[in-house]
């Protein structure tokens, strides 16, 4: 059901959604050294999408993110599994991680850690599961 009259809510949420998503991104990358990580970042991102669904409707969310969130969950789990099994290829024990320092174009010297792959998997799985729950309940009549 379109709710055209919520002008304030809709206009403010257009801005706020991006702020929330940026904060989620910050939480995701800061997780190794300070509070944050894949789980909370995933919940934050799902929260941003939920705000969209509240201000507009579920159809808008589907248009903005035109993917099946169950697939997002599966992709997340697959990436997390890769983060754990990659070490098997190098003859190391399961879930062994590696890290190194790299010279990146904009960021300068940066520490990159394979645990980030695992976190990305967690992030996607959390977004997928949360959005699946919200959308399924939301659409159920």
């Amino acid at each position: 059901m379109p709710r055209g009259s919520d002008v304030f809510l809709q206009n403010i949420s257009k801005i706020v959604v991006f702020i929330i998503l940026a904060f989620a991104l910050y939480l995701f990358f800061t997780g190794h050294g300070s509070p944050g990580g894949g789980f909370i970042a995933g919940l934050m991102s799902a929260g941003a999408l939920l705000l969209l669904a509240l201000a507009y409707d579920i159809e808008t969310v589907r248009k903005v993110v035109p993917i099946d969130f169950k697939i997002v969950t599966a992709v997340g789990l697959l990436i997390a599994l890769c983060g754990g099994t990659g070490s098997l290829l190098f003859g190391e024990p399961f879930l062994k991680h590696a890290f190194g320092y790299f010279q990146l174009p904009l960021l300068g010297e940066t520490e990159l850690h394979t645990a980030l792959i695992f976190d990305l998997g967690v992030y996607l799985a959390v977004v997928g599961v949360t959005m699946t729950i919200l959308l399924t309940i939301g659409e159920d009549n």
């Binding site: 697939i71 599966a74 697959l78 599994l81 024990p93 879930l95």
Partner: protein, 512 residues
């Protein structure tokens, strides 16, 4: 590096995730699941052989040495159970092809199936008590999905009870782990065992031990089984086979593991509790199996008798009895799987689950009838079959320890098992077919001439698959019995580790 140990968990997990991508392509899902199931039997076999030749194997996740990291430990007990579960899992998977129905298959049935296996394998292999909790949850959440999937009225009525009991017991599990961590400050099972031996078990540690006993008993259906007969009567038979064969065994495994390895310091106290609960389970299970006249209930109460028997063996805890526990659990996983597969086929053939409406099935399904008869003998423990060696070892241990009353209860429960299953055999397979049934069949016979060839072909194919699954399990039930001597070699290696936890501790903490 021992990455072999993680494969039984990893393989079904990868399969489960992959199957999420193409839920509509049922045939592809079946083929992938089948290949994975066969591969897992081979992997489990390799683990057993390696443990046989090289002793207890450990895998330190991420290279962190215990007690700081999580370890996977395969001693003979865990390895044998993983093998038994992989065989049963494969057979139940084949039975699912035949019986579960396209609607359920399209709604992630095989994904949940494989996630359940992940939880079971992980619970057997882990050497860390909080990791055990996590794998319990993986298993239970998949079982929640499987018990509700399909949404029959009966399923929706029973599922909330099942959920409530298990969420409650899981919460208690976390609380118990928290108490244990506060008391001794470690979570690794080998390290826990060491610390508890140093501190001397008694007082608060005994209380924690009893808390763990309550938690695992709720999961295993040991005395606290009030939820089980109803909950296991709700889902389709393939799911029931999975539950009856695997879920209670994981709870039992956890009881055996914690009370031989971690809380082994004060057996007169803890094992006394276990003995009492075992006796009550066998008596109540036996009464239930004899009392009811519908097949699902009789089968469910038979699961309980098996649980009581293993707990009795644990409470005896002599070397012989522990060998018997390992042997009996192997037999129990395979034969309870077979019991539910045959039960499902029987109900499909009779089109009712009440004994009163059955009879004369021997004429139409002689193969099914004799398979059921052999199963009844195997579950009772008649010599050439698989249930015998375990029962003999356990009861002999009980008699040697002077637990006469309990041994008699155990023997009587075997008799009740036999009576309840032969009751099914006699009433369903002998006698004359009820007239209602004959009429229905006559009508169907007329109809089936009209049914298109395709549907007929699918039906024979499905019946064939169900038979393959039952024969596969039956072959192992008979095979374990015939090869008792060589299986005993493996079981006794497992019993040795259970009786002497120091082997386990040394293998884990000195590692590699």
């Amino acid at each position: 590096m021992n990455n072999l140990l993680v494969l039984p968990v990893l393989l079904p997990m990868v399969i489960a995730v992959f199957l999420m991508f193409f839920r509509k392509k049922v045939e592809l899902q079946r083929v992938i699941g089948l290949i994975g199931g066969i591969a897992n039997v081979l992997i489990a076999g390799m683990i057993v052989l390696r443990v046989r030749s090289e002793g207890i194997q450990t895998l330190q996740f991420g290279g962190w040495s215990p007690p700081y990291g999580i370890v996977f430990v395969a001693d003979m007990f865990a390895a044998l159970l993983v093998l038994a579960v992989s065989i049963t899992g494969l057979a139940v998977l084949i039975y699912s092809f035949a019986s579960i129905g396209r609607e359920r298959e399209e709604h992630y049935y095989y994904t949940f199936f494989h996630f359940l296996l992940v939880g079971v394998y992980g619970s057997f292999m882990t050497g860390d008590i909080f990791n055990l909790f996590v794998f319990f949850e993986v298993m239970l959440i998949s079982s929640y999905a499987l018990i509700t999937l399909g949404g029959d009225k009966k399923q929706l009525r029973e599922a909330p009870k099942y959920l409530l009991v298990n969420i409650l017991s899981s919460t208690l599990f976390v609380a118990s782990v928290a108490y244990l961590y506060a008391a001794v400050g470690t979570l690794n099972m080998a390290h826990l065992s060491q610390r508890i031996t140093e501190a001397g078990q008694g007082g608060v540690l005994n209380v924690i031990a009893v808390l763990f006993l309550i938690v695992f008993s709720l999961k295993a259906g040991l005395f606290l089984f009030f939820w089980l007969p109803g909950a296991y009567g709700a889902p389709p038979f393939a799911v029931r086979a999975l539950f009856g064969a695997l879920l209670t065994k994981v709870g039992l495994y956890a009881i055996v593991r914690t009370f031989t390895l971690i809380f082994s310091g004060d057996p007169s106290f803890t094992h006394g509790w276990i003995a009492g609960m075992a006796a009550a389970t066998m008596i109540l299970g036996g009464i239930g199996a004899v009392a009811y006249r519908d097949i699902p209930r009789i089968l469910n109460y038979n699961v309980l008798i098996g649980v009581g028997f293993v707990a009795f063996g644990l409470s005896v805890s002599t070397r012989d009895a522990l060998d018997g526990v390992v042997f009996y659990m192997l037999h129990d996983i395979l034969s309870k799987g077979l019991m539910f597969v045959l039960g499902g086929m029987l109900i499909a053939a009779a089109k009712t689950d009440r004994l009163d409406g059955m009879g004369g099935l021997m004429r139409r399904r002689p193969g099914l009838g004799w398979m059921f008869f052999i199963l009844a003998l195997a579950l009772t423990g008649i010599p050439p079959l698989s249930g015998f060696a375990g029962k003999v070892l356990i009861v002999r241990g009980g008699l040697e320890e002077g637990m006469l009353a309990l041994s008699l209860v155990a023997l009587a429960s075997s008799l009740l098992t036999l009576y309840s299953l032969v009751k099914i055999f006699r009433e369903a397979f002998w006698g004359t077919e009820p007239e209602v049934q004959q009429e229905a069949e006559a009508i169907q016979g007329r109809k089936s001439k009209k049914i298109s060839k395709e549907i007929k072909k699918k039906r024979t194919f499905d019946a064939g698959l169900a038979n393959v699954s039952a024969v596969l399990l039956l072959a192992f039930v008979i095979g374990i019995g015939l090869a008792s001597n060589s299986v005993y070699g493996f079981a006794s290696q497992a019993g040795e580790t259970l009786a002497n936890p120091i082997f386990y501790i040394e293998a884990v903490l000195k590692g590699e």
